[in-house]
């Protein structure tokens, strides 16, 4: 017994050492990754003097001053206006993205369309095409439409399935489904649109949720488009309001800005924790099953 233990001594501990090493790396990296976020949230509850004097993230004398004063903003509107504006952009954008992507993906996945191969190649090309090459003509076009300083340029294009990535995600999901349910529905006299709404949509719900979540998140983060198209402060979304606030108050009130940054990412943060599985599935469906 004893000799056997000595013989295999260090090898026996190898799995433990391995796990120890892995945990060590993960904890170290995880700490560095999450610390800026903790520091932001903690800083939102500190007073300014403490932000500059301590690198810890737990406030010693928690205060909501940052939230109270930050909410008032340095403009004539409260932060509520900017949050509401963001929703006025993001919600229509998510809805039209989902509808148009599902409809187009259904066409690609289930029909023999003339020139389908070419259309699919064009769809994928839109994923790789840098947006800045379209920026100026789109701006001029929307100026002709009289859409400047409205929210239309921010979501009208998405009603036409312009984001190939989402269409691709749903096509990939549809391709994995067995066809017998849909064929049975056709036998029973459903037309293809009824098949889509009654049979396909409930089954592809996970893919729809992934698309909606990604589009929500990306639209919340979007900065360049509102920057170009919106000129009146009363129409600003959170992204522009935050940028404006650091230009105005940077030297003094970090706690206000950190508090408003915390509020700005809160919706994304909550959705991420509530629906992480859909983010992972959405991201990996194209890459791994592809």
């Amino acid at each position: 017994m004893v000799t056997a233990t000595i013989d295999t001594g260090w090898r026996k501990h190898l799995p433990v050492l391995n796990a120890f090493l892995r945990y060590g790396i993960l904890i170290l990296v995880g700490f560095v990754m999450i610390y800026p976020l903790l520091w932001m949230i903690g800083g939102a509850f500190k007073n300014n003097a403490e932000i500059f004097s301590s690198i810890g993230f737990i406030p010693k004398e928690p205060t909501t001053d940052g939230f109270v004063n930050g909410w008032k903003t340095s403009t004539e509107y409260t932060f509520a206006t900017y949050l509401l504006n963001t929703m006025k952009i993001v919600i229509p954008k998510v809805i039209v993205t989902v509808i148009s992507s599902v409809v187009v993906a259904y066409g690609f996945a289930r029909f023999a369309i003339p020139g389908r191969k070419w259309l699919f190649a064009l769809l994928m090309a839109t994923v790789l095409l840098p947006k800045s090459v379209l920026l100026i003509p789109q701006y001029l076009m929307f100026r002709e439409f009289g859409w400047l300083d409205t929210y239309l340029p921010l979501y009208a294009p998405q009603a036409f399935a312009t984001e190939g990535f989402f269409v691709f995600m749903i096509i990939q999901f549809m391709r994995t489904l067995p066809l017998d349910m849909e064929e049975a529905a056709v036998m029973d006299g459903c037309n293809s649109f009824q098949v889509l709404t009654l049979i396909v949509c409930p089954v592809i719900l996970p893919a729809i949720i992934s698309v909606a979540l990604f589009q929500f998140m990306w639209s919340m983060n979007d900065f360049l488009q509102p920057l170009i198209y919106l000129s009146s402060v009363e129409k600003y979304p959170v992204a522009l309001a935050l940028k404006m606030s650091i230009d105005v108050t940077e030297a003094t009130s970090w706690n206000e800005i950190l508090a408003m940054s915390t509020i700005a990412i809160a919706p994304s943060l909550i959705l991420f924790f509530a629906a992480q599985k859909y983010f992972v599935e959405g991201l990996t469906s194209g890459a791994v099953k592809g």
Binding site: A19, R22, Y23, I25, L26, G30, M33, P36, L37, G43, F52, S53, I55, S100, V103, V104, Y106, G107, F108, R110, F111, A112, P114, L128, L129, P130, K131, S132, V133, L134, L135, I136, P137, Y139, M141, P157, A159, F160, T162, S192, W218, N221, L224, I228, V238, L242, K243, I246, I257, L258, S261, I265, S268, F272, F279, V280, L283, T284, A287, V288
Partner: protein
């Protein structure tokens, strides 16, 4: 499933209209604009064709050359580092241990939030003169660094913001790792292959399709970075973080040179097109798809 071409075409019509109106037309229009001296405040009719003047003008534009240089530096530093780090952490995570899900969440979160203005603002505070990093250095007795005020360190701050968002690439790598059949490793163990050898001979080759996907996505995204340099460094100091997308924006919407800005955006497009074309062309030499080993599961 259906053979009715008419109805099928109806379903993809939104895409065709959207593609023509919001992609194809602006794409062509931007090339035509790049051959003119169009200005934002004037009617388009007033613009004159200037041939390739906007393109030849770049040769003597030191701002453009600086911008092109820092853009390449940014992409060549961030993309390989981000991919290598994402792969490394994915390999560490791909292990049956308690709490792995928690770590995956922690690593993935920054790439969901990282593109937001809120995070860019926090980054600016972290690297500010009296910000988090300098306070940390100060408590160790090390003098502060003027992170955003020096060309090298300003670039470093926006590079770090991109590396911080390695999570999405990691999640894709992790899914790829989980798809590798375990029996391959068991067979290699029996043959006495070391862990290192197994990584190079099994893991990496089978991961190349995922690596290819991540590489393309990261290249395309890195060349289009805008929020970081715009909000954190404003492209400075001395244009040291003046990435091309920022220059394109400022030429058009700050200096109103639509023609020149369009030409710059075409240069950016051509650079990205060359990179993706080379990647797609070269994939037959290094990307290993499942059918290559006579396996009809998964794959391309």
């Amino acid at each position: 499933m259906y053979n009715n071409k008419l109805i099928g075409s109806l379903y993809v019509t939104p895409f065709v209209i959207g593609f023509l109106l919001f992609t194809a037309f602006p794409f062509v229009a931007s090339f035509i604009l790049s051959l003119t001296d169009a200005r934002l405040q004037d009617q388009l009719g007033a613009a004159q064709f200037t041939g390739l003047a906007n393109y030849t003008g770049m040769v003597s534009d030191s701002t453009f050359q600086k911008s092109l240089g820092v853009t390449f530096a940014y992409v060549f530093i961030t993309v390989p580092l981000k991919l290598a780090f994402a792969l490394f952490i994915a390999v560490v995570l791909n292990f049956k241990l308690r709490g792995i899900g928690l770590f995956r969440t922690a690593f993935y979160l920054p790439s969901i939030l990282g593109g937001s203005v809120a995070i860019a603002v926090v980054w600016r505070f972290v690297f500010a003169g009296d910000g988090l990093i300098n306070q940390g250095l100060g408590s160790l007795g090390i003098g502060g660094v003027n992170w955003l005020g020096e060309p090298t360190t300003a670039m470093f701050s926006i590079v770090l913001l991109r590396l911080w968002q390695f999570g999405s690439a990691m999640v894709v790598f992790l899914a790829g790792l989980k798809a590798i059949p375990e029996d391959l490793y068991e067979a290699a163990d029996l043959d006495g292959a070391s862990r290192m050898k197994q990584f190079w001979m099994i893991t990496l080759p089978l991961l190349t399709p995922v690596l290819f996907f991540n590489f393309i996505m990261q290249i395309v995204q890195a060349f289009q970075e805008f929020n970081g340099p715009y909000i954190i460094t404003a492209g400075g100091p001395l244009k040291s973080s003046y990435l091309l997308p920022l220059m394109i924006y400022e030429e058009a919407f700050k200096y109103f040179n639509l023609g020149y800005s369009s030409a710059l955006s075409w240069v950016l497009f051509i650079i990205i097109a060359i990179f993706t074309a080379v990647a797609f062309w070269s994939q037959k030499h290094w990307v290993f798809y499942a059918q290559d080993r006579g396996d009809d599961k998964g794959g391309h």
